[in-house]
Symmetry: C2
Subunit: 348 residues, 2 copies
């Protein structure tokens, strides 16, 4: 699928809403982050602490997922950390009670794992989400929620860039369950008045992502291999993708929670202009100064659930929430590499 001529730059509409003072919104507020020891969750927690919020974290630390105690290193005294699984219902009411905000990021992210162990994916991405919302409905209906959804639910795009009204045609069990999780949030917002917003994330990269394997993002395992002197393995190579730097993603979560315009809404996150996976690998190798990559055919089990080219139309979130990506891809990759040069042993 080709890029329509002149459609780049869709991320900068002329009109953006007035800036908002995030410190004023979050300072002193009680905030719960599920998946808060994970990649985006922990970066969000760090920013919330910096803004003066009183942050609690729920994380299961399931080894195959994104949680890592290292991600909140140095914050132990300033953040309340509950090692708990969102599938553990009886704990949910006490966790959500009294919170002003809930950033709901706990999830199973591996597309391949969702195909080999679909019930676990459903239990985390569907059933636990419904249980969290029920806990809010019964014990804290005034809470403000932002849910981490995914571009995976669009499936193979009909057109590019993909806007929020693109049909949902999930290609794997994970996509089906994430649709359910997102839909529950929007339904509870509409019917029960539990103010919720869903962000459909594209590939997010940056410090604290999982690099042990490709369960969270293939970029993670690329970085690991590069830093360990192994060749990067690129599948296909010509697919276009967009990448959000994690600091930008964190800002989107904060704006989504802070702005009433987001209530009941769904917003794509995009990034700077998309690149091919081959180009991404080249850039990483160049930034690292040393390394190599090999291009190979898609493994057949992976090919079945691949979505081809994808990049987001980010105009809606710019217009409604005043968010656009600030970090170009080169900077994002350079910062990520820098982080793991010092931290590699904590992540492999």
């Amino acid at each position: 699928m080709r890029l329509a001529h002149g459609r780049r730059g869709v991320f900068a509409p002329r009109k953006m809403p007035k800036p908002i003072n995030l410190r004023r919104v979050f300072s002193g507020k009680r905030v719960l982050v599920t998946g808060g020891l994970g990649f985006i969750g922990s970066n969000l927690v760090r920013e919330l602490v910096a803004l003066g919020a009183r942050v609690s974290v729920v994380d299961s630390l399931v080894p195959a997922y994104g949680g890592n105690r290292r991600n909140l290193a140095g914050l132990a005294s300033r953040v309340k950390i509950h090692i708990a699984d969102v599938r553990d219902w009886p704990r949910l009411p006490s966790l959500v009670r009294g919170q002003d905000f809930l950033f709901n990021l706990a999830g199973q992210t591996s597309h391949m794992d969702s195909m080999t162990d679909p019930i676990t994916d459903l239990d985390i991405n569907g059933r636990a989400q419904l249980a969290i919302l029920e806990a809010c409905r019964l014990h804290n209906p005034a809470i403000r929620i932002v849910f981490a959804s995914t571009r995976q639910i669009y499936g193979k795009p009909d057109y590019l860039p993909v806007d929020e009204s693109h049909p949902l045609r999930p290609v794997d069990v994970n996509g089906i369950n994430k649709i359910a999780g997102e839909s529950f949030h929007l339904l509870y917002s509409r019917v029960h008045g539990i103010a919720s917003t869903a962000l459909r994330l594209t590939n997010t990269i940056g410090p604290r992502m999982r690099i042990k394997d490709a369960r969270q993002t293939f970029v993670g395992v690329w970085i690991r291999r590069l830093l360990e002197g192994q060749p990067i393995e690129v599948w296909g190579g010509e697919q276009l993708r967009d990448f959000t730097y994690v600091d930008d993603a964190v800002e989107a979560f904060l704006l989504a929670a802070a702005r009433p315009e987001g209530i009941g809404g769904v917003f794509n996150l995009g990034g700077p202009p998309p690149v091919s996976l081959r180009k991404l690998a080249e850039t990483l190798v160049t930034l690292n100064g040393v390394g190599q990559f090999t291009v190979r055919e898609f493994p057949s089990d992976r090919k079945k659930i691949d979505i081809g080219d994808y990049f987001a139309d980010g105009r809606l979130i710019a217009r409604k929430l005043g968010w656009k990506p600030r970090t170009d891809l080169r900077t994002a990759l350079a910062r990520t590499l820098d982080y793991y040069r010092g931290e590699l042993r904590h992540y492999v």
Copy 2:
């Protein structure tokens, strides 16, 4: 929403596929029907037995659902009945093993119940469906499946009649979970080769439906009230709906299983031309010879999840599977009333 001029009669396209000999397809075949003591399930079982199939039934007989032993009265010696819940995983492999066909009709159907007990709805309409498909993938990948989906997943229609490419915008938890259940079937068909077809049912009526209350269809409780000499309560009254007579629905299930053209597909079931709920009530009272109805405002909790007018575009199923409704509404209602005149005490 109004009916576009001249769009009635969409159920009779000029080209239909060649007739198919259903006896040849099902005679001697092993067929499993989940929800087989329920409304549509039991009517389907009766027809399958008549066609010479070796039928097994799974039904949980949960009191709030549609299962009723009376529905298979007289067939005890010819049908193997397992009282089991599709949520009971360990039983699934032995149930699906060796079956040629699976008609997957077990479900929680009450929209209101899905809002007050959403997790149960998810467990039955989402999680159990995934477990059934996993059992098929692991123990009987050659099975042919037809899944009972619902028009509820479209939500409030953008246009009428509603075709299969209408956006899915569920208005309640039931709709969200039925989308997941349907999506799992189509995904397993596409990715794992478990041949599946989904039928999106509209309001189905006929003998053996639940009439104790409105949990399956409001028409059920109307018929009960009429036969018990109570006034029918019509909410709103002007909403247009289409109704499929159960014998026609059964034929659609059989054709969907029999025709390879249906594999991986989703099809609306429609009915004869739609009527308003007020007109439906009038017709019922007229057919019964005695009775009355009152029109009242929607209760507010129900209003929030009402979908307004709905009727299906049935052209796709006519063209691909050669199905169209044969029974006009008056005949459908008359036969239903006749059945419950004799059987009322077994259903209340």
